[in-house]
Structures are given as C-alpha cells and as structure tokens.
C-alpha cells in the first residue's frame, strides 16, 4: 500500500492545499442544512470536547462514500484509500472549526474532493507525463477497475472517463455520486455556473457517445 507521502513523491497530502479546502468548507457551511442525525451531532460534540474515540462513528458512517468520491477522481484503489484516510485525519485536525449542528458529510466530501484534485494537479506538474486529460485514468483503469459486469454501466463509465478532467470529475459527481450542482460547486471550489457549464459540455459529449443507449431527442 502506498503511503500518502509516497503518493506525492515526498510531499504530504496535507501540505498541498488542505487549508484551502478547509477554509472554503467553513464558508460553505453557512448555507448547509442542519444535522438530522442526532448520534452524529453528539459524536461531533464529543470529538470537539476531546473524545477522540467518538470519531469512529463518523469514520464508519462516511468511509464508503468518501472512498467512492476519491476513487472517482483518482481511479485507483490504493490512492483512494490513502485519500480517504488523509481526509478523515485532516477533518479531525480541523474539527474545532466545524460548526456544531451542521452535517459532517458535505465537509468531509469537500475535503476529500480537494485532496483528490490536488493529487491530480501534483502528478501533472511533477511527473512530466505527456498526457491527455483522460489518459491517466484510462491507464489505471486497466489495473484497478472493479469488475463492471453490466455492459450498460461499462459503456457509461468509459464515456465518462473519456471526458476532459474537470468535465469528468463534475460529471461523475453529478451522475454517479448523485450530488446536486450546489453541492458539487462547494466540493470543487467552482462556481455553480462553472459546474453547470462543465456539465453541459459533458452532456453533449456523453450524448454523442451514448446516443444508441439513451436516444437523442432531448436537445
């Protein structure tokens, strides 16, 4: 298993841009919903009061979703696992900034999304790879893609993966992870308009590739 440090070739995930994601997360909390899970709310209060053991509830509740989001960005199980771990640790380190009463989910989703985006940027910058937007994901797919037995799902997955990077990430968050525009905007630090723009461009390309599956009468 790759460590967080090895993933970045010496730089730790946290050193890259987590502060930015945490601060933007803080701002975005003002428009979040209230926490409707009383156990979660109690766990957050306990963690803030210094009870590290209560953090386990939050980790167990959100691990699967956090890993899925991370995997959608990096398309690699080992990196997704490391990102999820790092996201939870960073969230814990910054729990004092978290507003009590808010749901924990949007915050941890935003942190892991930012870590994933930073990882991609870091790889592009420092590995000097000659890549197209979709190439790294495609390469990793072959080694690490979970078996998609359903032909329809495989077609959709391939079509999404062929999109340019930000369109791919936004499309995946919208289509696969089922987030709304506002949530995606908060998670990616993009404006809602930019998210809609990425999604609109992605839609056009996906429609071309998947015309035989979903028809073409919705322009």
């Amino acid at each position: 298993m790759m460590s967080a440090t090895s993933m970045f070739g010496g730089a730790s995930i946290g050193s890259l841009a987590l502060d930015r994601s945490v601060f933007t997360a803080e701002r975005a909390q003002t428009r979040s919903a209230t926490n409707e899970d009383p156990i979660e709310a109690r766990a957050i209060t306990a963690v803030k009061a210094g009870d590290a053991g209560s953090y386990g509830y939050l980790v167990s509740k959100y691990t699967k979703r956090v890993v899925s989001i991370a995997w959608g960005i990096v398309r690699n199980a080992a990196d997704a696992e490391d990102l999820a771990q790092e996201a939870f640790v960073k969230a814990y380190e910054n729990i004092a900034r978290f507003k009590s009463g808010e749901p924990f989910g949007p915050w941890i989703y935003r942190i892991v999304t930012n870590l994933g985006l930073d990882l991609i940027k870091h790889r592009k910058r420092f590995r000097h790879e000659e890549i197209t937007d979709a190439a790294p994901a495609e390469r990793r797919d072959r080694a690490d893609l979970p078996a998609i037995t359903n032909e329809l799902a495989a077609r959709i997955d391939h079509a999404i993966q062929s999109l340019p990077e930000m369109q791919r990430i936004v499309a995946r968050l919208y289509l696969v992870e089922q987030f709304g525009h506002t949530e995606i905007a908060a998670m990616t630090n993009l404006t809602e308009g930019t998210v809609r723009s990425h999604l609109s461009l992605a839609r056009g390309k996906l429609k071309e590739k998947l015309a035989d599956l979903h028809g073409g009468n919705n322009d």
């Binding site: 980790v59 691990t63 699967k64 814990y92 959709i156 919208y174 696969v176 996906l206």
Partner: protein, 105 residues
Amino acid sequence: MIDDTFLEQLRDDARQLQYEPDDVMTTRIAARVRARVSEEAAGGVAQLLARWFRPVMVSLAALSLAAVVGVGWLELSPEPAPGLDAVSSSQTVDVSVGGDVFSVE
C-alpha cells in the same frame, strides 16, 4: 437547461458505478485513522503540558543563573566575610558561676 431527460436517465443508470470499497479496505481505513487520531490526541496532551511547563522551566533556569552568578560574585569578593571560627575566636563570653565570673574564649 441541462437537467433534461437524457441526463436524468443517465444519472439513474450511472448510479451503479459508485465504487464500493470492501470490508477489508473500510476496516483498514478505520484502523489507520484511529491510530493517527490517537497520535494527534497524545500529541495534543504533550503540547498542553509543554505549554505549562515551559514558563516554569524558564523561571527555574533564571533562578539558577542568578544563584550561580551570586555565588561567583561572593567567591570573587576581595574581603570575604569572616567565618564562624573567626567570629567565635575573636569574641569572649563571660560566664558567671557562684559569684565568680569566668571569661571563655
């Protein structure tokens, strides 16, 4: 408008592409996070103690330094104060016994 039938239908179909980490991975993540969080918590206590002890240690160090300087200054003094022997030998004590007075050095 991008929230059209095509996207909604695609969204329904794409839902199944969510990555499902297995139990081994989720357990491993939980264990690693627990370990890291415990380290953080331990580090926090250590830092708290350090914050309290640091001024105490600085004060003690300042007192020690003052004591060393003071002793050094006394030792370097050209006319040392007379010791107990010197004081006792230079003075006599008069003791009165049965009307007689004895002088004891």
